[in-house]
Symmetry: C2
Subunit: 201 residues, 2 copies
C-alpha cells in the first residue's frame, strides 16, 4: 500500500487537528495510508523551544523517509508563496527520489500573486520580455504555481500539481483540490506500473 | 576542496549577476569552490515558459548533487519568510545528507516577523503558552529564523544559521553575514574532521 506524507500548514489552523484528520481519512478512502509514527517530541519535558522545534523537524523527516509519496498543500500561506515548511518537505522528498504531488486552492500563478499582492500591480513587461517590478526585481514568470524549484521538482519527480478555486473563507479547509489530487494519484500510480520509490533524478 | 551550492534569491535582483559573482568570489577567497556547470537551459530555443523553468530546476538540482554543502541566503524575500526556491534547496540538500548552512540579514525571528509584519501586532499569548493570531492561527514560536523544518533541518545536518543586521536598502546586497558564514564554515569543517557528504539522517 502506498504510504503518503501529507504536507501542509494545517497544523497552524485553529481547527488544525480536525483538518489533518479529515485529510488522513480521505487518504485512506482512496486506498492509501497516511504516514504515522509516535513522535519523541510528544514526551519532551525540557523547556527549550528550539530543541522542541528540532525534535518536531526530526519526527517529520523520519515520517518522510518511510513514505512513498508526498502530497503538499501549496496554497499560499501568510504571503504570496506556499508554507516554507511544506516547501522544505517537497525538496526533501524530491531529493529522495520519491514522487511529489501538490495542490493549491487558488488558480492564480506565482507571477499574478507577486504582481498584484506583493507589488500592488507596479510591475512592467520589459523589452527583454521579463516581468520587472517597481523595485527593479525580476518577477519569475513561468506560468507556475510557485518558485520554479517547486513546480520543476514536482514535475521531474513524476508528480503533478492540481489547482482548486476555494472561496477566501475556506482557503485552508476546502478539500476539493486535495481529493481530486488523491483520485488522480490512484489513477496515475495504477497506470504507471512502477514503484513510487524509484529514484527519478 | 569543498564544493558549495550558493542558494538565494539574488538572481531576481536588478544587479543579480554581479551579486552572484561577488558571492562566488568570496567563496573562493575562503578556499572553497562554488558549484558550476553549463546549463542546458541556456541553449533552450523553445518558447514554453514552463519547460524553460523546469530546465533551470533540473540544472540547479544537478549542481546540488555535485556539491558538498549548501549556503542558503534565508533573508525574508517578498514576505515574512525565505525565498521558497532557496527553502526547497535546503530541504533537498538535507535529504541528501549534505551539511546545510544559512544566513539571514535580519536579527528578527520568524515569530517576530509573522506577528509584526503579517498580523500587524494582532497576536496574543494564549493560556496554553501558544502565540495565537487574530485569525485564530497559531504562530510558530521556537526562537527560530524561519519554519522549524528549515532551522531544524540545518541544525540536524550539522550546519548552522548566522544572523546579520543589514540596513533595509542593502538587505539583499550586504555580504557581512554571508562572509561570517564562510569564515565559520572553514573553521567548522576544519575542526569537525569529517567529510561533508556523510549522511547525517
Amino acid at each position: 500500500m502506498i504510504r503518503v506524507y501529507i504536507a501542509g500548514p494545517e497544523v497552524f489552523l485553529p481547527n488544525g487537528f480536525e483538518q489533518v484528520e479529515r485529510k488522513r481519512a480521505l487518504c485512506r478512502a482512496y486506498g492509501m495510508e497516511p504516514s504515522a509514527r509516535q513522535g519523541d517530541f510528544l514526551h519532551y519535558q525540557g523547556g527549550d523551544k528550539f530543541v522542541f522545534g528540532t525534535m518536531i523537524a526530526k519526527h517529520n523527516e523520519e515520517l518522510m523517509l518511510e513514505s512513498d509519496i508526498i502530497i503538499a498543500n501549496l496554497t499560499p500561506f501568510r504571503g504570496i508563496s506556499a508554507d516554507p515548511g511544506t516547501v522544505y518537505e517537497v525538496g526533501f522528498m524530491c531529493a529522495l527520489g520519491r514522487k511529489a504531488f501538490g495542490y493549491t486552492n487558488t488558480t492564480r500563478s506565482y507571477a499574478e500573486r507577486a504582481s498584484a499582492d506583493h507589488y500592488n500591480g507596479q510591475v512592467e513587461r520589459a523589452v527583454s520580455g521579463r516581468l520587472v517590478a517597481v523595485d527593479g526585481q525580476m518577477v519569475e514568470d513561468h506560468g507556475m504555481t510557485d518558485n520554479l524549484m517547486i513546480d520543476g521538482g514536482i514535475a521531474r519527480s513524476g508528480g503533478f500539481i492540481l489547482h482548486g478555486d476555494a472561496a477566501p473563507g475556506v482557503l485552508f479547509t476546502d478539500l476539493t483540490a486535495y481529493e481530486a489530487c488523491l483520485k488522480k494519484i490512484t489513477e496515475h500510480i495504477g497506470s504507471s506500473h512502477r514503484r513510487c520509490d524509484t529514484p527519478q533524478l
